[in-house]
């Protein structure tokens, strides 16, 4: 039961909750469905304390990004093979855990070899979406903030909260994110109202911002 808890909630087990889940399992003839039902409906599960505390597994990282964005990729790209190979390189052979105890998870996923790969492979997906269709980046940001928003902080934060489980990032990193989003657009465009979220520069701005976000530590968490 602790394993289930650590997998879905937090690496730090709350003994009371774990015991309660164990009791549910026993009283339900060792069926797991009621356990999950109880856990996923609990306030504890949605508690802010328990968000952004799990380090994504490689497949979680790749699939999570892919599903979150919902972007199109080239039809010829064999995503299953790509994911399988890339997860293997990041230390996870899908459907083949290291031993009977399974993957240790959490900080075990991160070392100086796997972390750069996690950046690189997230970036790889973004590059593939970009090559397929640049406009999907613009569509996404408009779907998040509408087609009239001009406040940089609002736009950058909206994308951050969409790509990360909502959490605060450091001020200096937020400033850098804004600088990245401004990109090639002359700064005065934002002051004199020349810039709009419908501009041709926007797909690239969003793309660059995403490529920045995936390098932040918070992107590794869920």
């Amino acid at each position: 039961m602790k394993k289930i808890y650590k997998y879905f909630v937090s690496p730090k087990a709350d003994e009371a909750i774990v015991s309660s889940l164990a009791a549910t399992m026993i009283s339900n003839n060792f069926e797991l469905a009621p356990v999950y039902s109880q856990l996923f409906k609990s306030e504890h599960f949605f508690d802010e304390k328990n968000s952004n505390v799990l380090i994504k597994s490689p497949i979680d990282l790749m699939l999570g990004l892919h599903k979150t964005l919902g972007f199109k990729l080239d039809d010829t790209l064999d995503l299953e093979v790509q994911f399988r190979n890339k997860c293997r390189d990041m230390g996870q052979i899908i459907f083949s855990p290291v031993d009977v105890a399974g993957w240790q998870g959490n900080q075990d996923w991160i070392n100086s070899e796997t972390l750069p790969k996690r950046w690189e492979f997230s970036d790889y997906l973004l590059i593939k979406y970009w090559k397929k269709n640049k406009n999907q980046f613009k569509k996404l940001i408009i779907s998040l903030v509408g087609n009239k928003e001009t406040e940089l902080k609002v736009i950058v934060n909206a994308l951050k909260d969409f790509m990360f489980c909502p959490c605060k990032i450091k001020d200096e990193e937020l400033s850098e994110a804004i600088a990245v989003f401004i990109g090639e657009v002359p700064e005065n465009y934002f002051e004199d109202g020349t810039w709009s979220i419908n501009d041709d520069s926007v797909p690239k701005q969003v793309y660059d911002l995403m490529r920045f976000f995936i390098t932040l530590p918070e992107f590794q968490l869920k």
Binding site: S10, P11, K12, K49, S51, N52, V53, I55, D89, Q107, I110, N111, S112, E113, L115, P116, K117, W119, E120, D123, C167, K170, E172, S175, E176, A179, V180, I182, G183, E184, V185, P186, E187, N188, Y189, D192, D200, S201, K204, D208, R211, F212, I214, T215, P217, E218, Q220, L221
Partner: protein
Amino acid sequence: MKEDSANKDKGKAHDEEHAQWDRRGFLKTLGVAGAGAISFGSSSLSVVDSQMLTAALAEVDNDRVLVLIRLKGGNDGLNTIVPIYDFDTYANKRPKIHIPQNSLLKLNDDFGIPNYMKNLDGLWKNGAMKVVHGVGYENQNLSHFKSSEIWASNSEDSSVTSGWMGRYYEEKYMDYMINPPKKPLAIQIGNGGNLVFNGDLTSYAFSVSSPERLKKVAESGTIFDTSNPPASLHGNQVSFLREAANTTYRYASVIHEAYDNSKEYSGYQDNSIDLQLSLVSRFIKGGLGSKVYMVTLNGFDTHANQPTRHQTLMTRLSDSIKTFYTDLKNHGVDDKVLSMTFSEFGRRVAENGSSGTDHGSAAPIMLFGPALNGSSFVGDHPSLITLDKKGNMANSTDFRSVYATLLTDWLCADSDLIKQGNDWN
């Protein structure tokens, strides 16, 4: 590139490597070797720890440095280097925004700079400034984005995503990804996706979007600030990831070392370009060994109220260049550093209705540094009368020839390496 014999052998080895490994092969090898290109800002860094094959290559090079100063937004060349030789045409086309003759500092009988750029006068008189007239390219594209791309990549073809410096580095450091040099080849401040240093595979610059961030890196020797994490499980996890990331980025510590090895010069003012040049100077003085730096001064898109805005910018630029070279001279390294301004385009000859200028074409490039060995003008100033349909001047010098000259004559590179983008003309 000047080669000694040992270097030639290395060149051969490089060629063989190149023949064996296509780009896909390169990327594959990355996985095997545990290397990777990571994104920081919107560029990439290599993070591999391995033997420094290319370091030796860098050793045989000279100790020269090139500083690229990007004037972002499209600098108005005519109010930077004022054509006194045709002053009437100049003033008539710009009744509101021309620099009056009594506010000009003459560089020679034909050209002058506005008084507020007076801090460049010393460099000019000491033979440390050159101006290349009418730099641009045929059929100027007037979009900031496209034009920046063309200036950076030397190509009109959108599919070319590598930059002129990046291509040079890609040829020169073929095994960059596997054996990256000890020090960053280039440092770029204020990138926002500029292509100059991008190769096809990776970016060859250590780049940050803001000088403040670079300063933090230089001061702390780490990419991510690990101080004061929030006291929570989330805070712990973020700290853990920050520390893991810090040990992975390879250049933060050498940047920190160079920064620590040098002293702050007190002459700099409190603004972005001064901060950028003061950091560049500290890296140079501290022996970082990076060959190319790029700094950015933003705000040149002067469609409206040009006179005050341009004056502020050009004053800032001139002051900072003077301070930079004074600083370098105090350390006896000023003759090792060549600086060049560039911008995605110049501005239209005639002013617009809001005391500003619209996107134009050719504009002068300014070069600074005692190594220039004599101040002068290079090339011909484009005519202010014979203009294209939009009212823009024709370029008299192709920007690629300026790049090629810098690479061959200053960095002693083989200029063939940057010619790939030339085919479209």
